[in-house]
Point group: C2
Chain length 336, copies 2
């Protein structure tokens, strides 16, 4: 899922995302609640209508942002009181509020309001956050939802296998349409990411979507898929694009700003079918980035989103055709 | 002509300009010479290939920017020595250099290197600038050009009718493929703009394109067309777009940032056929502008470029059908 934090995947239009056969994107409850705010969101009839996107949308619950972005937090059993990172306005977000906002947004998949433990984190506070996550998940499951809206629970428990397993089992007992693995890729060393995925995933039913939140390295994704993950979101491909970093089809990255691209008449990636690669040279894209032209951010973002969606198409095909191991081999040396 | 200063019409892709039936755009010699520079431009085979645009391009000569943007100017009979506004590097631009750069850029229409008098300006210095413009025009006419490249002379003379008339006559004597009226809309009161157009235009042949440089108000354009002008460029529609100002089909402007647009479900302009108006509400565009999303700049720019190109299509049709006076009436109260 490309990330559309504020009601747009940065630099792209909905038409471009459709042309790339993007079928679902992610919106951020925290940011949308801040601006445009739910009064406007309700008036315009939800995020699909607002942003002109009739394909699927998943919204996070705002929990992650409340714990990472917002200031002056006060955590109670009902939720979190905080000040907006934007204008300092006081807000309160808890399971009831998060589900209500997502109901107004009208996303196709709503995430439960959870407490995401940072890394590192003591076993005690990881346990407390996991238990609060479960209490809130149960509350979220009772809130009204938008018509047809699915609801996903989120496994927390930091780096502690038994906590994650317990969390997964309890979530399944409550019963959700899908399950996410949260609290992974929150600053821990790379070699703790896959173990984080493994903990607890065995307790999640294989016939429900399993979604690994915030992980977007090619190797990490492929290895997570090998362990049973079905869905991902990551802000990385769009964020690094605007800084001039291209993600290639094997997961390697390189900077189009590099001096070596000055006179390079080739596309961002040879053989790539995206609009940027079909029409423009590295030399041109480098120039656009150097002089801060919007088209530079657009072309880089288009390319990176294409690379990600294309990887997922190849994975699906490889799984169907029984050639997944070969694909896994190909990206095993990609940077992340 | 939409303005593509640095090798891109800000925020738009070539495909979008083609979809709007844009047939010619303007590139800036001064900026392109600065970045990417002519070594890269020559290597990539000119601006058309560089930016993926196979329709027409007109380039200015850099004279206007040298006299308005650059620092530490030293003017000689051969041209102007100056420091780049960007990195302070020393450059020299004169008739030979300007025509050579435009030859490398490979524009379809090259402009002569002129001296544009500021406003206000004494008769003496206006006369001197006009005479220098003529000397340089004669020199420009002798320089090699790109294959098929047309060359336009530029009428200067500030607000002095006899100077402008003399300049126009001398330019016609040298002989150019088209003629431009320069030094208008350089800070003078609005009611001096049309008189500036009238001075000298009578001496320009009606069977050659006559191009009014840098003027882009709807009323100013229509009134200039009534006086014989065929071509315009103006950075205004794209520049104000990025600040949230929409230009409507009758030339009026309004700010989509206004609070009144908060919950406005209507398009930027009712009945407009541009991509932005067909798919998005004022409420959405306002939100995008408020949170500094690139898509906001894109949609606003698309709309404004559409409004301008559509006006020109309506003018051409009205002239053919003999209904130009009605159109003239419609925009007579538009803001510019």
């Amino acid at each position: 899922m490309p990330v559309g934090t504020q009601g747009t995947v940065k630099a792209l239009s909905p038409a471009e995302l459709e042309a790339e056969d993007c079928r679902i994107l992610l919106g951020n409850t925290y940011h949308l609640n801040d601006r445009p705010g739910m009064e406007i969101m309700e008036h315009v009839g939800g995020l699909h209508k607002f942003m002109g996107w009739d394909r699927a949308i998943l919204t996070d619950s705002g929990g992650f942002q409340v714990f990472s972005l917002a200031r002056l937090r006060k955590i109670t059993t009902d939720g979190v009181e905080f000040r907006s990172h934007n204008d300092g306005a006081k807000h309160f977000l808890g399971p009831r509020e998060a589900m209500n906002i997502q109901r107004i947004i009208g996303s196709d998949i709503a995430m439960v309001f959870d407490e995401c433990s940072p890394y590192p984190c003591s076993r005690d506070s990881a346990c407390q956050a996991m238990e609060r996550t479960l209490t809130w998940a149960a509350l979220c499951a009772q809130q009204p939802r938008a018509e047809g809206q699915l609801r996903f629970g989120i496994v927390q428990g930091s780096v502690f296998p038994d906590l994650r397993e317990q969390c997964a089992q309890e979530l399944v007992r409550i019963g959700f349409d899908g399950y996410a693995i949260g609290g992974v890729s929150v600053g821990e060393p790379d070699d703790l990411i896959l173990p984080g995925v493994e903990m607890g995933i065995g307790a999640l039913p294989a016939d429900r979507p399993r979604y690994l939140m915030g992980v977007g390295g090619f190797r990490q994704m492929i290895e997570s898929i090998a362990r049973g993950v079905d869905m991902f979101d990551c802000v990385m491909p769009t964020r690094v694009a605007r800084n001039g970093t291209a993600v290639l089809s094997d997961g390697r990255r390189f900077s189009v700003r590099a001096g070596a691209c000055k006179k390079d008449l080739g596309p961002i990636e040879e053989g790539c079918a995206c609009y940027a690669c079909r029409h423009f040279s590295r030399a041109y894209v480098r120039h656009l980035l150097n002089v801060d032209e919007i088209l530079g951010a657009r072309l880089m973002t288009l390319h990176n989103i294409h690379a990600y969606l294309e990887l997922m198409r190849r994975v699906r095909k490889a799984i169907e055709e029984g050639t997944f191991e070969g694909l896994r081999e190909m990206v095993k040396d990609s940077e992340d």
